[in-house]
Symmetry: C2
Subunit: 312 residues, 2 copies
Protein backbone atom coordinates (compact mmCIF):
# COMPACT_ATOMS: atom_id res chain seq x y z
CA UNK A 1 0.00 0.00 0.00
CA UNK A 2 1.83 3.07 -1.28
CA UNK A 3 -0.02 5.77 0.63
CA UNK A 4 0.53 4.23 4.07
CA UNK A 5 4.27 4.07 3.37
CA UNK A 6 4.30 7.65 2.15
CA UNK A 7 2.53 8.76 5.32
CA UNK A 8 5.05 6.91 7.50
CA UNK A 9 7.91 8.52 5.57
CA UNK A 10 6.48 11.89 6.65
CA UNK A 11 4.99 12.88 3.28
CA UNK A 12 2.64 15.72 4.22
CA UNK A 13 0.71 15.69 0.97
CA UNK A 14 0.01 11.97 1.34
CA UNK A 15 -1.19 12.56 4.90
CA UNK A 16 -3.43 15.44 3.76
CA UNK A 17 -4.96 13.24 1.05
CA UNK A 18 -5.63 10.44 3.52
CA UNK A 19 -7.28 12.82 6.00
CA UNK A 20 -9.54 14.12 3.20
CA UNK A 21 -10.57 10.55 2.35
CA UNK A 22 -11.45 9.88 5.99
CA UNK A 23 -13.29 13.19 6.33
CA UNK A 24 -15.34 12.55 3.18
CA UNK A 25 -16.02 8.89 3.94
CA UNK A 26 -14.13 7.94 0.78
CA UNK A 27 -13.70 4.13 0.78
CA UNK A 28 -9.98 4.52 0.04
CA UNK A 29 -9.42 5.86 3.56
CA UNK A 30 -10.36 2.77 5.56
CA UNK A 31 -7.75 0.28 4.28
CA UNK A 32 -4.98 2.77 5.09
CA UNK A 33 -6.36 3.16 8.62
CA UNK A 34 -6.59 -0.62 8.98
CA UNK A 35 -2.94 -0.94 7.91
CA UNK A 36 -1.65 1.79 10.21
CA UNK A 37 -4.01 1.28 13.17
CA UNK A 38 -1.50 -0.89 15.12
CA UNK A 39 0.74 2.21 15.23
CA UNK A 40 -1.83 4.33 17.07
CA UNK A 41 -1.93 4.90 20.82
CA UNK A 42 1.37 6.70 21.15
CA UNK A 43 0.33 10.34 20.77
CA UNK A 44 -0.64 12.54 23.68
CA UNK A 45 -4.07 13.88 22.71
CA UNK A 46 -4.84 17.35 24.04
CA UNK A 47 -8.39 18.63 23.77
CA UNK A 48 -8.74 22.41 23.88
CA UNK A 49 -12.21 23.90 24.22
CA UNK A 50 -13.89 27.08 25.41
CA UNK A 51 -16.27 29.80 24.25
CA UNK A 52 -15.70 31.89 21.12
CA UNK A 53 -13.45 34.84 21.86
CA UNK A 54 -11.48 33.11 24.61
CA UNK A 55 -8.38 33.01 22.43
CA UNK A 56 -8.12 29.23 21.99
CA UNK A 57 -6.46 29.35 18.56
CA UNK A 58 -3.69 31.69 19.69
CA UNK A 59 -3.18 29.57 22.81
CA UNK A 60 -2.89 26.38 20.75
CA UNK A 61 -0.43 28.08 18.38
CA UNK A 62 1.77 29.10 21.31
CA UNK A 63 1.51 25.70 22.96
CA UNK A 64 2.46 24.00 19.68
CA UNK A 65 5.45 26.33 19.30
CA UNK A 66 6.45 25.58 22.93
CA UNK A 67 6.35 21.82 22.26
CA UNK A 68 8.56 22.26 19.21
CA UNK A 69 11.12 24.21 21.23
CA UNK A 70 11.20 21.55 23.97
CA UNK A 71 11.83 18.46 21.87
CA UNK A 72 11.99 17.03 18.39
CA UNK A 73 8.50 15.59 18.84
CA UNK A 74 6.19 16.49 15.95
CA UNK A 75 2.94 18.33 16.69
CA UNK A 76 -0.44 18.18 14.92
CA UNK A 77 -3.38 20.53 15.37
CA UNK A 78 -6.89 19.47 14.39
CA UNK A 79 -9.26 22.44 14.55
CA UNK A 80 -12.86 21.28 14.65
CA UNK A 81 -15.63 23.77 14.05
CA UNK A 82 -18.78 21.76 14.70
CA UNK A 83 -21.12 24.64 14.02
CA UNK A 84 -19.77 25.92 10.75
CA UNK A 85 -21.96 24.77 7.89
CA UNK A 86 -19.66 26.59 5.48
CA UNK A 87 -15.88 26.41 5.63
CA UNK A 88 -15.20 30.14 5.81
CA UNK A 89 -14.33 30.17 9.48
CA UNK A 90 -11.99 27.24 9.20
CA UNK A 91 -10.14 28.67 6.22
CA UNK A 92 -9.76 32.06 7.83
CA UNK A 93 -8.49 30.42 11.01
CA UNK A 94 -5.90 28.51 9.01
CA UNK A 95 -4.49 31.62 7.42
CA UNK A 96 -3.95 33.18 10.81
CA UNK A 97 -2.26 30.04 12.09
CA UNK A 98 -0.03 29.78 9.07
CA UNK A 99 1.44 33.17 9.84
CA UNK A 100 2.69 31.95 13.22
CA UNK A 101 3.82 28.42 12.53
CA UNK A 102 4.67 28.58 8.82
CA UNK A 103 7.86 26.92 7.74
CA UNK A 104 8.09 24.40 10.60
CA UNK A 105 7.83 20.98 8.93
CA UNK A 106 7.32 19.41 12.33
CA UNK A 107 3.87 21.02 12.69
CA UNK A 108 0.83 19.80 10.80
CA UNK A 109 -2.40 21.83 10.90
CA UNK A 110 -5.81 20.72 9.72
CA UNK A 111 -9.29 22.23 9.95
CA UNK A 112 -12.57 20.39 9.80
CA UNK A 113 -16.06 21.84 9.37
CA UNK A 114 -19.11 19.79 10.14
CA UNK A 115 -20.89 20.02 6.77
CA UNK A 116 -24.12 19.44 8.59
CA UNK A 117 -23.77 15.69 9.07
CA UNK A 118 -25.87 14.70 12.06
CA UNK A 119 -23.93 12.63 14.54
CA UNK A 120 -21.14 11.97 12.07
CA UNK A 121 -18.77 14.64 13.29
CA UNK A 122 -17.36 12.86 16.35
CA UNK A 123 -16.90 9.70 14.34
CA UNK A 124 -14.93 11.41 11.60
CA UNK A 125 -12.93 13.52 14.05
CA UNK A 126 -11.91 10.36 15.91
CA UNK A 127 -10.63 8.83 12.67
CA UNK A 128 -8.58 11.91 11.84
CA UNK A 129 -7.02 11.88 15.31
CA UNK A 130 -6.19 8.19 14.90
CA UNK A 131 -4.60 8.96 11.52
CA UNK A 132 -2.42 11.75 12.97
CA UNK A 133 -1.44 9.46 15.84
CA UNK A 134 -0.53 6.66 13.41
CA UNK A 135 1.44 9.14 11.28
CA UNK A 136 3.78 9.68 14.22
CA UNK A 137 2.69 13.01 15.67
CA UNK A 138 3.62 12.86 19.35
CA UNK A 139 1.21 15.61 20.39
CA UNK A 140 -2.17 16.03 18.77
CA UNK A 141 -4.16 19.14 19.74
CA UNK A 142 -7.91 18.83 19.13
CA UNK A 143 -9.33 22.33 19.23
CA UNK A 144 -13.08 22.98 19.30
CA UNK A 145 -15.15 26.11 19.64
CA UNK A 146 -18.04 26.53 22.06
CA UNK A 147 -19.52 24.47 24.83
CA UNK A 148 -22.06 22.13 23.30
CA UNK A 149 -22.51 18.39 23.37
CA UNK A 150 -20.40 17.98 20.23
CA UNK A 151 -17.51 19.65 22.04
CA UNK A 152 -17.97 17.43 25.07
CA UNK A 153 -17.92 14.39 22.78
CA UNK A 154 -14.77 15.63 21.11
CA UNK A 155 -13.10 16.39 24.43
CA UNK A 156 -13.74 12.77 25.37
CA UNK A 157 -11.31 11.80 22.60
CA UNK A 158 -8.51 13.57 24.47
CA UNK A 159 -6.16 12.29 27.13
CA UNK A 160 -5.95 15.76 28.63
CA UNK A 161 -8.69 18.34 28.20
CA UNK A 162 -7.89 22.04 28.54
CA UNK A 163 -10.83 24.39 29.06
CA UNK A 164 -10.10 28.01 28.18
CA UNK A 165 -12.05 30.95 29.58
CA UNK A 166 -11.40 34.66 29.27
CA UNK A 167 -12.34 37.56 31.56
CA UNK A 168 -15.65 39.19 30.80
CA UNK A 169 -17.09 36.15 29.04
CA UNK A 170 -19.69 36.03 31.77
CA UNK A 171 -20.21 35.97 35.49
CA UNK A 172 -20.28 33.02 37.87
CA UNK A 173 -23.61 31.77 36.52
CA UNK A 174 -22.12 31.60 33.05
CA UNK A 175 -19.19 29.62 34.38
CA UNK A 176 -21.69 27.06 35.60
CA UNK A 177 -23.71 27.21 32.42
CA UNK A 178 -20.70 26.59 30.24
CA UNK A 179 -20.83 23.36 32.22
CA UNK A 180 -17.78 21.79 30.75
CA UNK A 181 -15.86 22.13 33.99
CA UNK A 182 -16.53 18.51 34.74
CA UNK A 183 -14.51 17.45 31.71
CA UNK A 184 -11.65 19.91 32.34
CA UNK A 185 -8.29 18.48 33.37
CA UNK A 186 -6.60 21.86 33.19
CA UNK A 187 -8.38 25.23 33.34
CA UNK A 188 -6.97 28.32 31.67
CA UNK A 189 -7.86 31.95 32.25
CA UNK A 190 -6.52 33.44 29.05
CA UNK A 191 -6.18 37.19 28.41
CA UNK A 192 -5.10 37.42 32.03
CA UNK A 193 -3.91 40.98 31.43
CA UNK A 194 -7.55 42.18 31.17
CA UNK A 195 -9.03 44.02 34.20
CA UNK A 196 -11.40 41.37 35.58
CA UNK A 197 -9.12 38.35 35.14
CA UNK A 198 -8.94 37.84 38.90
CA UNK A 199 -12.76 37.71 39.15
CA UNK A 200 -12.92 35.12 36.35
CA UNK A 201 -10.31 33.01 38.11
CA UNK A 202 -12.27 33.22 41.39
CA UNK A 203 -15.50 32.20 39.58
CA UNK A 204 -13.75 29.22 38.02
CA UNK A 205 -12.31 28.09 41.34
CA UNK A 206 -15.75 28.44 42.97
CA UNK A 207 -17.34 26.40 40.19
CA UNK A 208 -14.66 23.75 40.62
CA UNK A 209 -15.55 23.44 44.28
CA UNK A 210 -19.24 23.05 43.39
CA UNK A 211 -18.32 20.30 40.95
CA UNK A 212 -16.38 18.43 43.65
CA UNK A 213 -16.44 14.68 43.79
CA UNK A 214 -14.57 14.08 40.56
CA UNK A 215 -13.31 10.57 40.07
CA UNK A 216 -9.70 9.96 41.03
CA UNK A 217 -7.26 12.15 42.82
CA UNK A 218 -6.63 14.81 40.17
CA UNK A 219 -7.61 18.38 41.01
CA UNK A 220 -7.66 20.52 37.85
CA UNK A 221 -5.18 23.38 38.21
CA UNK A 222 -6.20 26.89 37.10
CA UNK A 223 -3.49 28.53 34.98
CA UNK A 224 -3.41 32.19 33.89
CA UNK A 225 -2.06 32.96 30.44
CA UNK A 226 -1.70 35.80 27.95
CA UNK A 227 -1.55 33.75 24.76
CA UNK A 228 -0.79 36.80 22.58
CA UNK A 229 2.54 37.36 24.31
CA UNK A 230 3.20 33.74 25.29
CA UNK A 231 2.98 34.52 29.01
CA UNK A 232 2.08 31.47 31.09
CA UNK A 233 2.37 28.95 28.24
CA UNK A 234 5.24 27.20 30.02
CA UNK A 235 3.15 26.89 33.22
CA UNK A 236 0.22 25.58 31.19
CA UNK A 237 2.30 22.92 29.47
CA UNK A 238 3.92 21.89 32.75
CA UNK A 239 0.42 21.36 34.17
CA UNK A 240 -0.48 19.38 31.06
CA UNK A 241 2.55 17.14 31.47
CA UNK A 242 1.85 16.61 35.18
CA UNK A 243 -1.59 15.44 34.08
CA UNK A 244 -0.07 13.08 31.55
CA UNK A 245 2.12 11.55 34.28
CA UNK A 246 -0.89 11.23 36.58
CA UNK A 247 -2.86 9.46 33.83
CA UNK A 248 -0.08 6.86 33.57
CA UNK A 249 0.36 6.32 37.29
CA UNK A 250 -3.29 6.29 38.38
CA UNK A 251 -4.61 3.92 35.74
CA UNK A 252 -7.03 6.66 34.62
CA UNK A 253 -5.26 6.85 31.26
CA UNK A 254 -6.04 3.20 30.62
CA UNK A 255 -9.68 3.70 31.73
CA UNK A 256 -10.04 6.61 29.32
CA UNK A 257 -8.58 4.64 26.44
CA UNK A 258 -11.06 1.87 27.19
CA UNK A 259 -14.07 4.23 27.28
CA UNK A 260 -12.85 5.80 24.06
CA UNK A 261 -12.60 2.47 22.27
CA UNK A 262 -16.11 1.52 23.42
CA UNK A 263 -17.55 4.80 22.20
CA UNK A 264 -15.79 4.40 18.83
CA UNK A 265 -17.09 0.84 18.45
CA UNK A 266 -20.63 1.95 19.30
CA UNK A 267 -20.67 4.77 16.80
CA UNK A 268 -19.36 2.48 14.05
CA UNK A 269 -22.09 -0.05 14.89
CA UNK A 270 -24.70 2.68 14.70
CA UNK A 271 -23.37 3.87 11.35
CA UNK A 272 -23.31 0.42 9.74
CA UNK A 273 -26.68 -0.71 11.13
CA UNK A 274 -28.51 2.33 9.76
CA UNK A 275 -26.84 2.09 6.34
CA UNK A 276 -27.76 -1.58 6.06
CA UNK A 277 -31.33 -1.03 7.22
CA UNK A 278 -31.93 1.73 4.67
CA UNK A 279 -30.59 -0.37 1.81
CA UNK A 280 -32.96 -3.21 2.81
CA UNK A 281 -36.18 -1.15 2.74
CA UNK A 282 -38.50 -1.66 -0.20
CA UNK A 283 -39.33 1.30 -2.45
CA UNK A 284 -41.79 3.76 -1.00
CA UNK A 285 -41.91 2.14 2.43
CA UNK A 286 -39.81 4.83 4.08
CA UNK A 287 -41.85 7.60 2.43
CA UNK A 288 -45.09 6.03 3.65
CA UNK A 289 -43.75 5.98 7.21
CA UNK A 290 -42.68 9.60 6.88
CA UNK A 291 -46.13 10.58 5.59
CA UNK A 292 -47.76 8.91 8.60
CA UNK A 293 -45.62 11.07 10.90
CA UNK A 294 -46.31 14.24 8.92
CA UNK A 295 -50.05 13.60 9.04
CA UNK A 296 -49.73 12.88 12.79
CA UNK A 297 -51.20 9.39 12.46
CA UNK A 298 -48.03 7.94 13.99
CA UNK A 299 -45.41 9.28 16.38
CA UNK A 300 -41.85 8.98 15.06
CA UNK A 301 -41.26 6.13 17.53
CA UNK A 302 -44.35 4.24 16.34
CA UNK A 303 -43.43 4.68 12.68
CA UNK A 304 -39.86 3.48 13.32
CA UNK A 305 -41.13 0.44 15.22
CA UNK A 306 -43.45 -0.49 12.39
CA UNK A 307 -40.73 -0.16 9.75
CA UNK A 308 -38.41 -2.38 11.77
CA UNK A 309 -41.07 -4.99 12.57
CA UNK A 310 -41.99 -5.31 8.90
CA UNK A 311 -38.43 -6.14 7.99
CA UNK A 312 -38.39 -8.76 10.73
CA UNK B 1 -55.78 7.36 29.83
CA UNK B 2 -55.98 9.69 32.82
CA UNK B 3 -52.74 11.59 32.40
CA UNK B 4 -53.45 12.69 28.81
CA UNK B 5 -56.79 14.11 29.93
CA UNK B 6 -55.17 15.88 32.88
CA UNK B 7 -52.61 17.43 30.53
CA UNK B 8 -55.36 18.63 28.17
CA UNK B 9 -57.24 20.13 31.11
CA UNK B 10 -54.16 22.25 31.78
CA UNK B 11 -52.91 20.35 34.84
CA UNK B 12 -49.33 21.58 35.19
CA UNK B 13 -48.22 18.82 37.53
CA UNK B 14 -49.48 16.17 35.11
CA UNK B 15 -47.58 17.87 32.29
CA UNK B 16 -44.41 18.05 34.39
CA UNK B 17 -44.67 14.35 35.21
CA UNK B 18 -45.14 13.45 31.56
CA UNK B 19 -42.12 15.54 30.51
CA UNK B 20 -40.00 13.76 33.12
CA UNK B 21 -41.08 10.38 31.74
CA UNK B 22 -40.11 11.44 28.22
CA UNK B 23 -36.83 12.90 29.41
CA UNK B 24 -35.91 9.75 31.33
CA UNK B 25 -37.09 7.34 28.62
CA UNK B 26 -39.67 5.95 31.04
CA UNK B 27 -41.98 3.62 29.06
CA UNK B 28 -45.05 5.38 30.51
CA UNK B 29 -44.26 8.46 28.43
CA UNK B 30 -44.74 6.97 24.95
CA UNK B 31 -48.43 5.95 25.11
CA UNK B 32 -49.36 9.47 26.24
CA UNK B 33 -47.43 10.93 23.31
CA UNK B 34 -49.12 8.47 20.94
CA UNK B 35 -52.53 9.53 22.28
CA UNK B 36 -51.87 13.27 22.06
CA UNK B 37 -49.67 13.30 18.94
CA UNK B 38 -52.56 14.19 16.59
CA UNK B 39 -52.86 17.47 18.53
CA UNK B 40 -49.32 18.57 17.69
CA UNK B 41 -48.37 20.91 14.88
CA UNK B 42 -50.17 23.98 16.13
CA UNK B 43 -47.49 25.68 18.20
CA UNK B 44 -45.08 28.25 16.83
CA UNK B 45 -41.66 26.88 17.76
CA UNK B 46 -39.02 29.54 18.38
CA UNK B 47 -35.40 28.45 18.67
CA UNK B 48 -33.17 30.88 20.56
CA UNK B 49 -29.44 30.31 20.50
CA UNK B 50 -26.17 32.22 20.93
CA UNK B 51 -22.95 32.21 22.95
CA UNK B 52 -22.88 32.23 26.77
CA UNK B 53 -23.15 35.76 28.10
CA UNK B 54 -25.25 37.08 25.22
CA UNK B 55 -28.27 37.40 27.51
CA UNK B 56 -30.49 34.76 25.90
CA UNK B 57 -32.39 33.85 29.08
CA UNK B 58 -33.36 37.43 29.85
CA UNK B 59 -34.37 37.93 26.23
CA UNK B 60 -36.57 34.83 26.28
CA UNK B 61 -38.17 35.95 29.57
CA UNK B 62 -39.04 39.33 28.07
CA UNK B 63 -40.30 37.80 24.83
CA UNK B 64 -42.50 35.38 26.78
CA UNK B 65 -43.89 38.25 28.85
CA UNK B 66 -44.54 40.21 25.62
CA UNK B 67 -46.49 37.28 24.12
CA UNK B 68 -48.61 37.06 27.26
CA UNK B 69 -49.45 40.75 27.08
CA UNK B 70 -50.43 40.47 23.41
CA UNK B 71 -52.88 37.59 23.61
CA UNK B 72 -54.31 34.83 25.74
CA UNK B 73 -52.01 32.33 24.00
CA UNK B 74 -50.08 30.21 26.48
CA UNK B 75 -46.26 30.19 26.30
CA UNK B 76 -43.78 27.43 27.12
CA UNK B 77 -40.01 27.75 27.53
CA UNK B 78 -37.75 24.73 27.16
CA UNK B 79 -34.20 25.61 28.23
CA UNK B 80 -31.73 23.07 26.92
CA UNK B 81 -28.23 23.01 28.29
CA UNK B 82 -26.47 20.42 26.18
CA UNK B 83 -23.13 20.78 27.88
CA UNK B 84 -24.17 20.57 31.50
CA UNK B 85 -23.41 17.12 32.88
CA UNK B 86 -24.77 18.24 36.23
CA UNK B 87 -28.01 20.15 36.61
CA UNK B 88 -26.61 23.06 38.62
CA UNK B 89 -26.74 25.52 35.74
CA UNK B 90 -30.26 24.59 34.78
CA UNK B 91 -31.59 24.87 38.32
CA UNK B 92 -29.94 28.22 38.88
CA UNK B 93 -31.34 29.47 35.59
CA UNK B 94 -34.82 28.41 36.64
CA UNK B 95 -34.66 30.38 39.85
CA UNK B 96 -33.80 33.51 37.96
CA UNK B 97 -36.62 32.94 35.51
CA UNK B 98 -39.12 32.25 38.24
CA UNK B 99 -38.52 35.67 39.69
CA UNK B 100 -39.67 37.33 36.45
CA UNK B 101 -42.53 35.17 35.31
CA UNK B 102 -43.75 33.70 38.59
CA UNK B 103 -47.46 33.64 39.15
CA UNK B 104 -48.48 33.60 35.49
CA UNK B 105 -50.27 30.29 35.00
CA UNK B 106 -50.11 30.81 31.23
CA UNK B 107 -46.34 30.33 31.22
CA UNK B 108 -44.67 26.93 31.62
CA UNK B 109 -40.89 26.71 32.07
CA UNK B 110 -38.76 23.60 31.88
CA UNK B 111 -35.01 22.98 31.93
CA UNK B 112 -33.19 19.99 30.50
CA UNK B 113 -29.57 18.97 31.06
CA UNK B 114 -27.93 16.45 28.80
CA UNK B 115 -26.84 13.89 31.42
CA UNK B 116 -24.12 12.84 29.06
CA UNK B 117 -26.25 10.75 26.70
CA UNK B 118 -24.51 10.66 23.33
CA UNK B 119 -26.84 11.59 20.50
CA UNK B 120 -29.91 11.22 22.66
CA UNK B 121 -30.36 14.87 23.51
CA UNK B 122 -31.96 16.04 20.26
CA UNK B 123 -34.29 13.05 20.31
CA UNK B 124 -35.52 13.74 23.82
CA UNK B 125 -35.73 17.48 23.26
CA UNK B 126 -37.91 16.88 20.19
CA UNK B 127 -40.29 14.76 22.27
CA UNK B 128 -40.58 17.43 24.95
CA UNK B 129 -41.37 20.06 22.33
CA UNK B 130 -44.02 17.77 20.82
CA UNK B 131 -45.50 17.29 24.30
CA UNK B 132 -45.68 21.04 24.98
CA UNK B 133 -47.24 21.55 21.54
CA UNK B 134 -49.84 18.83 22.20
CA UNK B 135 -50.56 20.34 25.63
CA UNK B 136 -51.79 23.47 23.87
CA UNK B 137 -48.94 25.96 24.28
CA UNK B 138 -49.21 28.29 21.30
CA UNK B 139 -45.62 29.47 21.49
CA UNK B 140 -42.78 27.17 22.49
CA UNK B 141 -39.36 28.77 23.01
CA UNK B 142 -36.45 26.33 22.73
CA UNK B 143 -33.43 28.01 24.28
CA UNK B 144 -29.92 26.59 23.93
CA UNK B 145 -26.53 27.80 24.99
CA UNK B 146 -23.49 27.94 22.74
CA UNK B 147 -22.84 27.29 19.10
CA UNK B 148 -22.13 23.60 18.67
CA UNK B 149 -23.63 20.91 16.51
CA UNK B 150 -26.13 20.00 19.22
CA UNK B 151 -27.46 23.55 19.14
CA UNK B 152 -27.72 23.49 15.38
CA UNK B 153 -29.67 20.23 15.64
CA UNK B 154 -31.97 21.74 18.22
CA UNK B 155 -32.46 24.91 16.18
CA UNK B 156 -33.63 22.66 13.35
CA UNK B 157 -36.62 21.77 15.53
CA UNK B 158 -37.77 25.36 15.39
CA UNK B 159 -39.99 27.12 12.89
CA UNK B 160 -38.16 30.38 13.54
CA UNK B 161 -34.59 30.49 14.82
CA UNK B 162 -33.33 33.57 16.66
CA UNK B 163 -29.56 33.93 16.98
CA UNK B 164 -28.48 36.26 19.79
CA UNK B 165 -25.10 38.00 19.87
CA UNK B 166 -23.80 40.68 22.22
CA UNK B 167 -21.16 43.37 21.72
CA UNK B 168 -17.65 42.37 22.70
CA UNK B 169 -18.26 38.65 22.25
CA UNK B 170 -15.65 38.72 19.51
CA UNK B 171 -14.62 40.35 16.28
CA UNK B 172 -15.71 39.58 12.74
CA UNK B 173 -13.75 36.34 12.65
CA UNK B 174 -15.68 35.14 15.68
CA UNK B 175 -18.96 36.02 13.99
CA UNK B 176 -17.94 33.68 11.19
CA UNK B 177 -16.68 31.04 13.58
CA UNK B 178 -19.86 31.01 15.56
CA UNK B 179 -21.08 29.86 12.17
CA UNK B 180 -24.74 29.57 13.07
CA UNK B 181 -25.67 32.51 10.89
CA UNK B 182 -26.82 30.13 8.20
CA UNK B 183 -29.56 28.82 10.48
CA UNK B 184 -30.63 32.29 11.74
CA UNK B 185 -34.04 33.57 10.67
CA UNK B 186 -33.77 36.61 12.93
CA UNK B 187 -30.52 38.05 14.31
CA UNK B 188 -30.40 39.94 17.59
CA UNK B 189 -27.70 42.25 18.90
CA UNK B 190 -28.58 42.19 22.58
CA UNK B 191 -27.04 44.55 25.17
CA UNK B 192 -27.29 47.20 22.48
CA UNK B 193 -26.54 49.87 25.09
CA UNK B 194 -22.92 48.68 25.33
CA UNK B 195 -20.26 50.80 23.58
CA UNK B 196 -19.36 48.56 20.61
CA UNK B 197 -22.90 47.48 19.71
CA UNK B 198 -22.71 49.24 16.36
CA UNK B 199 -19.52 47.35 15.46
CA UNK B 200 -21.16 44.02 16.35
CA UNK B 201 -24.15 44.88 14.20
CA UNK B 202 -21.85 45.76 11.29
CA UNK B 203 -19.93 42.47 11.70
CA UNK B 204 -23.20 40.52 11.68
CA UNK B 205 -24.46 42.27 8.55
CA UNK B 206 -21.11 41.63 6.84
CA UNK B 207 -21.25 37.94 7.79
CA UNK B 208 -24.80 37.77 6.45
CA UNK B 209 -23.60 39.05 3.10
CA UNK B 210 -20.82 36.45 3.04
CA UNK B 211 -23.39 33.76 3.74
CA UNK B 212 -25.52 34.90 0.80
CA UNK B 213 -27.35 32.39 -1.31
CA UNK B 214 -29.78 31.24 1.36
CA UNK B 215 -32.72 29.27 0.11
CA UNK B 216 -35.95 31.21 -0.43
CA UNK B 217 -36.61 34.90 -0.35
CA UNK B 218 -36.21 35.58 3.37
CA UNK B 219 -33.43 37.95 4.43
CA UNK B 220 -32.80 37.69 8.18
CA UNK B 221 -33.39 41.06 9.82
CA UNK B 222 -30.92 42.30 12.44
CA UNK B 223 -32.71 43.65 15.54
CA UNK B 224 -31.08 45.56 18.41
CA UNK B 225 -32.37 44.90 21.93
CA UNK B 226 -31.63 45.65 25.56
CA UNK B 227 -33.30 42.64 27.13
CA UNK B 228 -32.71 43.89 30.70
CA UNK B 229 -35.00 46.88 30.13
CA UNK B 230 -37.24 45.33 27.48
CA UNK B 231 -36.07 47.75 24.78
CA UNK B 232 -36.53 46.37 21.27
CA UNK B 233 -38.50 43.27 22.33
CA UNK B 234 -41.55 44.51 20.39
CA UNK B 235 -39.43 44.96 17.24
CA UNK B 236 -37.96 41.50 17.73
CA UNK B 237 -41.36 39.85 18.07
CA UNK B 238 -42.72 41.74 15.08
CA UNK B 239 -39.79 40.38 13.02
CA UNK B 240 -40.54 36.91 14.40
CA UNK B 241 -44.18 37.16 13.36
CA UNK B 242 -43.27 38.44 9.90
CA UNK B 243 -41.13 35.32 9.59
CA UNK B 244 -44.04 33.15 10.68
CA UNK B 245 -46.22 34.71 7.96
CA UNK B 246 -43.48 34.18 5.39
CA UNK B 247 -43.17 30.51 6.40
CA UNK B 248 -46.87 30.04 5.68
CA UNK B 249 -46.93 31.91 2.38
CA UNK B 250 -43.68 30.64 0.87
CA UNK B 251 -44.20 26.94 1.56
CA UNK B 252 -40.93 26.94 3.53
CA UNK B 253 -42.86 26.17 6.73
CA UNK B 254 -44.17 22.97 5.19
CA UNK B 255 -40.68 22.07 3.91
CA UNK B 256 -39.27 22.52 7.42
CA UNK B 257 -41.97 20.38 8.98
CA UNK B 258 -41.15 17.67 6.46
CA UNK B 259 -37.40 17.80 7.14
CA UNK B 260 -38.13 17.72 10.85
CA UNK B 261 -40.34 14.66 10.58
CA UNK B 262 -37.66 12.86 8.54
CA UNK B 263 -34.97 13.67 11.07
CA UNK B 264 -37.20 12.48 13.93
CA UNK B 265 -37.98 9.21 12.13
CA UNK B 266 -34.29 8.61 11.43
CA UNK B 267 -33.23 9.15 15.00
CA UNK B 268 -35.94 6.79 16.27
CA UNK B 269 -34.79 4.15 13.76
CA UNK B 270 -31.22 4.57 14.94
CA UNK B 271 -32.28 4.23 18.57
CA UNK B 272 -34.34 1.08 18.06
CA UNK B 273 -31.84 -0.64 15.74
CA UNK B 274 -28.98 -0.26 18.20
CA UNK B 275 -31.05 -1.42 21.17
CA UNK B 276 -32.20 -4.50 19.28
CA UNK B 277 -28.72 -5.31 18.03
CA UNK B 278 -27.22 -5.13 21.54
CA UNK B 279 -29.89 -7.42 22.99
CA UNK B 280 -29.16 -9.99 20.25
CA UNK B 281 -25.42 -10.28 20.91
CA UNK B 282 -24.21 -13.39 22.71
CA UNK B 283 -22.39 -13.00 26.02
CA UNK B 284 -18.83 -11.81 25.75
CA UNK B 285 -18.97 -11.13 22.02
CA UNK B 286 -19.10 -7.35 22.46
CA UNK B 287 -16.25 -7.43 24.98
CA UNK B 288 -14.11 -9.48 22.60
CA UNK B 289 -14.67 -6.91 19.84
CA UNK B 290 -13.78 -4.12 22.24
CA UNK B 291 -10.60 -5.92 23.30
CA UNK B 292 -9.59 -6.25 19.63
CA UNK B 293 -9.90 -2.47 19.24
CA UNK B 294 -8.06 -1.75 22.48
CA UNK B 295 -5.19 -4.03 21.44
CA UNK B 296 -5.18 -2.33 18.00
CA UNK B 297 -5.77 -5.60 16.18
CA UNK B 298 -8.93 -4.14 14.60
CA UNK B 299 -10.05 -0.62 13.76
CA UNK B 300 -13.44 0.28 15.27
CA UNK B 301 -14.97 -0.01 11.78
CA UNK B 302 -13.52 -3.49 11.26
CA UNK B 303 -14.69 -4.69 14.68
CA UNK B 304 -18.21 -3.33 14.06
CA UNK B 305 -18.36 -5.01 10.63
CA UNK B 306 -17.34 -8.34 12.12
CA UNK B 307 -19.93 -8.15 14.93
CA UNK B 308 -22.67 -7.37 12.43
CA UNK B 309 -21.62 -10.03 9.93
CA UNK B 310 -21.61 -12.69 12.64
CA UNK B 311 -25.20 -11.93 13.53
CA UNK B 312 -26.10 -12.16 9.81
Amino acid sequence: MGLAEDVLRGDRLALARWLTWLEEDDPRGDPVLAELFPRTGRAHRLGVTGPPGSGKSTLVNQAAAWCRKQSSERVAVLAVDPSSPFTGGAILGDRIRMRDLAGDKGVFIRSMASRGALGGLSRRTAELVEALDAAGYGRVFIETVGAGQAEVDIARMADTTIVVEAPGMGDDIQALKAGILEIADVLVVNKADLPNAAATERALRASLELAAGRPGSWTPPVVSTVAESGQGIDLLMEAVDRHRDWLRQSGEGEARRRARAASRLDSELQHVLIERFRRGLSDGRYDAALAAVLERRRTPAQAADELIRERG
